[in-house]
Each structure stands twice: as C-alpha cells, then as structure tokens.
Amino acid sequence: MALRTEPFVLNMGPVHPSTHGVFRMRATLDGEVVIDIEPVFGYLHRGIEKLAEQRTYTGIIPLTDRLDYISSMNNNFAYCLAVEKLAGIKVPERAEYIRVIMAELQRIAALLIAVGAFLNDCGAYFTPFLYMFRERERIVDLFEMASGQRLTYNYMRVGGVSQDLPEEFMPALRKFMAMMPRFLDEYDQLLMQNEILIARTKGVGILSKEQAINSSASGPVLRASSVKWDIRKADPYSVYDRFEFDVPTQANGDCYDRYRQRVEEMRQSLRIIRQAMEQIPPGPVKADVPHLIRPPIGEAYARIECPKGELGFYLVSDNSIAPYRCHIRPPSLINLTALRDMVRGWKVADLIIIFGSIDITVGEIDR
C-alpha cells in the first residue's frame, strides 16, 4: 500500500541566515523536494523612484548609492551616464578613467562578496567568505582614500567625479594590483577541484540559453549560460572601447558555472584596471555643469554592466530641476524571473544554493 504524503509549505522567512537580505520565499515541499516556490518581495521598498521625482538631479546620487549597496560606484556611474546623455554633457578624460577604475574595483569587491556568500551557502563555514573579505578590505581602503566612505560612496557627479584622487591612491592601487592575482590563484587552488563543491553545484539549477534570454537575465547569470553578451563590449559606454579584455562564458549554466564565471570576470577586471592605470591622463575631473541641472525635454536610457547584470536608468525630463520620471532597471529582480523554473525538482539544500548563485541584493529588487 502506497504511503499517503502531502506537500507542505515552508516559509523561508524574511529573517533567515542565508537569504542575502530581507527576502522571503514560500516553498512548497514534498518531503525534501521543492515543488513550487513563490518569492515575496517588498520588505525593503523605500520608494526610491518616487523620491527621485522630488529631488534635484544631483540630489538623487546618494539615493542611487543605496540601491545595490554592495556596488555603489556602479550605481552612481549608471545614473550619471543617464543624466549626461539626457543633458548632453561631456565628461573630461581624466574623470572617465577614474570612473572606470572605480567601477572595475567595485566590480571585484562585489564579486568577492558574491562568491564568498555563495560558498557560505554551500556550507563552507565562513572560511572562503572571510578570505575574500580580506581582499575586499584592501579595496574598501582604497575607496576610503578617494571618497571618505566605506560602503555608500556618493563619489561620482554629473559631469565627472566629485574630487580628484589623493596622491597616496595610485601607489596603493599598484600594490593591490601586484598582490591580487596571487590571491585569485590561491582561491582557485583551494576551491576549484574540491569534490564536495563539485558534487553540490555541478549540474544543479541549470539555466538553458533560451530560458536565460527569454527571462531577460543579464550579467554573470546570462554569460554562464553560454551567451556572449557584455554591455562593455556590445554597447561600450565611457572609455571602455579603449581597453582590451575578454568576455568569458561558460558552457552549462549550472551553479558551478556561475561561480566560475564570477571568478573569471574578476581576472578580466584586473586587466582593465591595469590598462586604465597606464592610460590615465592628468586634467580636470569635473565638467562645468551648473549646480541645478535643467536638461531639455526628452528621455534617455543609459545602461552599464554592473556586477549583478545590466543596470539601467530611464529618465524622463520636463525641463525642471527634478526628473519627471526616473525608472531603474533592476538586474537582481529580473534575474530572479527564472528562479522558479530553475529550482523545481531540486531539494531544499539546492534551493539555497541556486538562489545564492543568482546573487541578488534586496536593495536593488525593492528599491
């Protein structure tokens, strides 16, 4: 006689040790197997888009910091690009290079957290997480030299950056660049062939190429599913067309590939920073823009490749000092669209790992 079972609903609530922030998932389980999942958002909704309609264009920059608070420089960058496109402002050369260096350093820092948190979810009890934080500390020290802040930098302005790099920045950056590749190799040596990691993540949570494109995934999630699409190459912004770097892709689209993708992207970022350090010219760091910017009537959309995916700002202006509408294209929310199909049929332990491999930040989902 077959045993009668019934599925039950497990609430992985907003407060949970490994849902990367206040994020709630209601999972319907049959034993340990996940049948359905319903993500519930909104625990960190601060109404940034509505607030943006009541602040000046420059005053929105601190708001954008708090979107994906792990990679604030990239958020600032995207927003400033959008305003400059709308208002037709040209940025001086030195500011462009500084922005690129900051954005790539921030990408490395955010990817370190992403990989560390992912391995933490796999159960390696904080060891890789803390090792990666050791490197992130050095990057955050560099940012503190430049902007005075450790997390939400508010460094870039419309028309450039807010202040020039201090003198101790470049030597410290050179020291960091000399050390970092050795640490990436150390992580690879410790983790890449670890049997338990491979057993947990290879073949788990596969996102096929068609599914990834259809659910508008972007960033490392898309590239790990063997789609060669990187905005820095496909639609270059700022001075990215002057640098030489590769766009790595991975073949399968499972969790292991997403982890490898992030590590490979860190190496490419190091290449870009090295080239930017050599090419950076002296000069002014901020264009001469008025304090209260009044762009002409129109709309603009600017996008960058941020560590989570494609971050874009859609601005509509009606020639006043505040935007008429500011919409933020959140990569984390859109990457989550495929979560349900990725997770069904796997177990609870895999649910956490798949969710961790997509790498979200709740500040960006809820805005």
């Binding site: 958002f41 909704h45 109404g47 888009e49 494109i213 659910s215 639609d235 494609e310 859609y314 919409h327």
Partner: protein
Amino acid sequence: MTVSLSGKEVARKIEEKFPGSVVESSHDSLVVRSDSLPDVARFLKDTEGLDFDFLNFITAVDYYDHFEVVYLLNSLEHNHSLTIKTRCYDRENPIMPSVVGLWQGADFQEREIYDLFGIKFEGHPNMKRIFLWEGFAGHPLRKDFK
C-alpha cells in the same frame, strides 16, 4: 555599438503587416495602439532581421491625462534595440495586454507596474501586488497620489 533602430523604419514595416496599429513614430521610438500590442510584439520577436528576443525593461510614465507604457526591446544577435510605447487613456481602470507569453522576463515587471501605477495586465498569470502589501490603498507612483 548597439544600434537604436529608427522608429520610422520599423513603423513602416509594422504598418504593412498590421495597418492602423501605429499611432505615431519618431526617430527614437514608436507608439502603437494597445489592442494591437500583442500582435506587434509577436511580429517583432519572430521576424527575421528584427529578432527581438530580449525584453530589456517595461516601465510606465504618468502624463496626467494618460499612462504611457514603455518597452525596450533588444536583439542580442543583431545588436540593435527598439523602444515601443503604448498609451492608456483610462485612469479609473486601466487595462493593457500582457507580453508574458512572449518574454517571460516581463513577469515581475508587469506586477510592479500594477502595484505602483494600477495598470492591470490581462493575460498575466499572477496579477498581484509585488512590493506593497495586499490592501494598500492607492498606487504610489501616480502623480496624484497623496
């Protein structure tokens, strides 16, 4: 570089296939009628040479007398993009067709537009509020929200 397709060119192609669906077109974008949106979207996705398989974002703007829903479509293969808009003049009970069947990425974004603007998308499998709780009165991103 991603080429932003000229709105006028694409409008001409769409008019040939679905006459009367394009309301206005300009260099940057084109505006179609909301009831012909599903057909136009399918046409844009499936046609050779256009191949818009990647829906970049959907958003809505409140222009006091009408809502404008903006879609940005990308083609990864040909590396071009297109902005399509539709308008909705009903403020009490705005309803628009959903494109979830074509691009699954529209799922959460259409729920967000419903939550913050009040525009319902018919054909969406799960039209519920996404950020605010059930029972919240009003739609915050409207210009007349207090």
